[in-house]
């Protein structure tokens, strides 16, 4: 008899219930943990997702996608399989999937974090026999500070920039991280401008009654009048783009778990790195595994080899589930080599080469 959840070419598949979880190719029935593009793919016939996440999911899958929403902790039947969704604390509407069949229970984490986040329901561990966990930050160097501390630093940075008449530019993933920053930053410091790639999700947050401060699009008049005072939130793809020039003198920052490592900040070519992640850290990963009570752990999406080896060496049966997506998840840095600027080495006159 095959296992309840199997790894297939299209992603995780439950044969008994005939559905896929976060498939990366079109299928008949897809259970979606959350709306990030490495989990929610376009083209399946029917989708099941957490009710609270439908709006954001729709902004990703299009108006015609057939999406059924169910509240957290309420199960539905698929053939003889019971399926329920549980808060993952990752982004608005993000869920873990609990699958039960003939007394056997599997939990699939999707992406998750344990830290508080005003834009989504807090993570709840799911008791299960087999737990498939993400491992984006599955190394002991990744242990997060409390978000309050990070946002204090961010507020202070914004104020300092204002004193020096510099616009504050912060790069953050467009769905989830950007809104988390909006919800947590001290909006009384100054005006906030958001890039279009972020603004397009704000309606969904409003519909879900997540309280966010007022923001402005980057129209020329406003940009001019807020130079030196505004906070601009932009997606990482905007790094070094001409779009940024209009904000005048600026200080740049990147908000991501990868900022824990200074080399990553240097490669991203920003002044500041704020260690702010929507993924679980090393300590959280281990404590969650214990909390599920699972006897078998599946490791996916990240430092899979390392986490599986560590667990096996510590008496926990672990194996790897591969994904089609890069191991670095949506927080992956994309430092195009042309964006790496060697600012510390002053160019000599000999250095007049192509500086693209």
């Amino acid at each position: 008899m095959p296992e309840l959840i199997q790894q297939t070419e299209r992603g995780l598949y439950c044969e008994a219930g005939d559905f896929h979880i976060d498939p990366w190719q079109p299928v008949d029935r897809a259970v979606i943990t959350h709306a990030h593009s490495d989990h929610a793919r376009w083209g399946s016939r029917a989708y099941l997702a957490a009710a609270g996440g439908i709006e954001v999911l729709r902004s990703r899958l299009g108006p015609d996608a057939a999406i059924q929403g169910i509240p957290f902790n309420e199960s539905i039947g698929m053939n003889d399989v019971r399926v329920s969704l549980h808060p993952a604390g990752h982004i608005l509407g993000s869920a873990q999937v609990r699958v039960e069949y003939q007394g056997e229970v599997w939990g699939i984490s999707g992406d998750y974090k344990l830290q508080t986040d005003p834009t989504c329901d807090a993570f709840e561990p799911v008791a299960c026999h087999t737990f498939i966990t993400e491992s984006t930050f599955g190394l002991p160097i990744y242990r997060w500070k409390g978000p309050e501390e990070v946002f204090d630093e961010m507020n202070e940075w914004w104020r300092e920039n204002q004193e020096r008449r510099r616009t504050s530019i912060i790069y953050a993933y467009a769905l989830g991280k950007a809104q988390r920053i909006l919800a947590s930053i001290d909006a009384s410091i100054g005006p906030i401008i958001v890039h279009g790639a972020i603004a397009r999700f704000l309606g969904a947050y409003e519909a879900a009654r997540i309280k966010l401060p007022p923001t402005h699009p980057a129209d020329p008049e406003l940009v001019k009048s807020t130079r030196g005072t505004a906070l601009v939130i932009a997606p990482p793809s905007a790094v070094n783009s001409p779009w940024l020039r209009k904000f005048g003198r600026q200080s740049s920052a990147y908000a991501s778990g990868w900022m824990q490592v200074r080399g990553n900040r240097r490669r991203a070519n920003v002044d500041r790195g704020f260690v702010l992640s929507d993924h679980v850290d090393w300590d959280g990963l281990l404590s969650t595994i214990r909390a599920t009570g699972a006897h078998t752990i599946g490791v996916t999406h990240g430092y899979t080899d390392q986490v599986a080896r560590y667990l096996n060496e510590h008496g926990i049966n672990a194996r790897i589930y591969h994904t089609r997506f890069s191991d670095r998840g949506e927080e992956a840095l994309e430092p195009d080599e042309s964006e790496i600027n060697h600012t510390d080495t002053e160019d000599t006159e000999k250095n007049k080469e192509l500086d693209s």
């Binding site: 190394l139 160097i141 242990r143 080399g263 000999k350």
Partner: protein, 558 residues
Amino acid sequence: MQRFTQLFIEMDRTKRTSEKVAAMERYFREVPSEDAAWALYFLSGRKLKRLVPSGILHDAIAQITSLPEWIISESYQSVGDFAETLALLFPQSRSEPATITLSQLVSDRMLRLRSIAASKNQRALILQTWNDLDSTQRLVFNKLITSNFRVGVTQTLVIRALAVVADVTPAIMAHRFAGTWEPTADSYARLMTGGDRGDSAGPSIGDLAQPYPFYLAHPLMQPPEDLGTVNDWQIEWKYDGLRAQLIHREQSTLIWSRGDELISGAFPEIAEAAADLPPNTVLDGEIIAWEDDRPLPFALLQRRINRKQVEAALWTDVPVAFIAFDVLEENGNDLREQPLVDRRRKLDELLSQLPPNASIKPAPLLSARTWSDLSQHRLASREHSVEGVMLKRLSSTYGVGRKRGDWWKWKIDPYTVDAVLIYAQGGSGRRSGLFTDYTFGVWDRPDESQGNGGDGRELVPVAKAYSGLTDDEIRQVDRFIRRNTIEKRGPVRIVKPELVFELAFEAIQPSNRHKAGLAIRFPRMNRWRTDKKPEDADTLETLQALLRSTMRENREER
């Protein structure tokens, strides 16, 4: 340690040189001399070496975290910096950090590590120190004990900050700082006051540390015959290096670049070789990556430039030489008004006192009885890994700036490549309003469609060029760009790939900063190849082959 860590954070959080210097100024003003002395020691790139074996640090972190060895290594793999890995792995402590000053940390912890024999006790001292510090202090401490402390400043910038604090010119501070300097409070106080050397007695020490203005050569455009008889000229190779002036005084040796940067720290073996010269000698020359009596590519030298201090490994990896071609001061006498022929004789006398393998060498002189002899030399330039020949009038004084007529550089014809115009950008000044800054591409692979085009080849950007076209041509190209823009990206126009230009360039070198994997130096537009279609442009392969051949030329003996 708190204040020093604060300085580290401030410098770490900015890429602006001026802010880094300002942060150092604040620091030096605030801290006691004994801390300032050590801060200066580390900021200027000096290191306390071999304090503790890295194995002990491994053991210490394994002990405190109970992590297996392999995951510590994996963590290091992913961080890429051992000091930082240790700081990240150390458990977050709840206790208040102890108050330790930088000088205490150095004497009671770092230097003590070296004196402890038993590794068990070394490990205990490491663990205790980690416990006494907060997380950023731990990072700084780890960087100091692993000789890996860097804050992205050159010694010149540190000196600039110190000069402001001491209220003297950077040249005076550079002079005070040169030579033997100990990280002690006394020594630091002497930097601030000038000590009893008395900067103001006699000719000011500031002047003694300052380079003379460099005399520059002009490119030779006319036929050499126009220069009169060849016997009036001294002929040297034109090297592709870093023009520099070496000032050797009683107390110190300073090397200045033409950009008035103090670069002594990057070339310690040259400063060392100068010790055999009589004091108060000033030489003019070219610093060159040099091995087996011939130059290596400039790219190798570049690795040494802008470095505060050079790791020993780099010394042997990139050997350099100061190829001296002029002497400006001998025994404190200014020789610049004397004719070149006399200066050259004095130069040869001076350098004959150095051992044959010294890093300071006289520039070889080429002999030519006729102008055609000279042309022969010039044509052999590439074999000698030089850029051409220099012509210097034997009767000339050492001029100032670019006074024309006495020094000429006659370069060899550069390399050429046919490339397609792909992006354009507006110019500035006289050329503003016109698209004058162009990016050129070559094909990523040869055309396999036998001239039918459209086999999905792509143009890879390889060069940017601004110069070489006539005003008339610029206007024509500008018109073409306006009519054939495919896409606008900010100020950049992506242009229909249609126009082909022959680019001339001086050198080619590998570069991982560029998509093409190579970089072209000093490209300019030689001519507009209206006779060529874009399909006829060169491919990346051509440039790669050229790159390989120039690399081989330069490193044949290896």
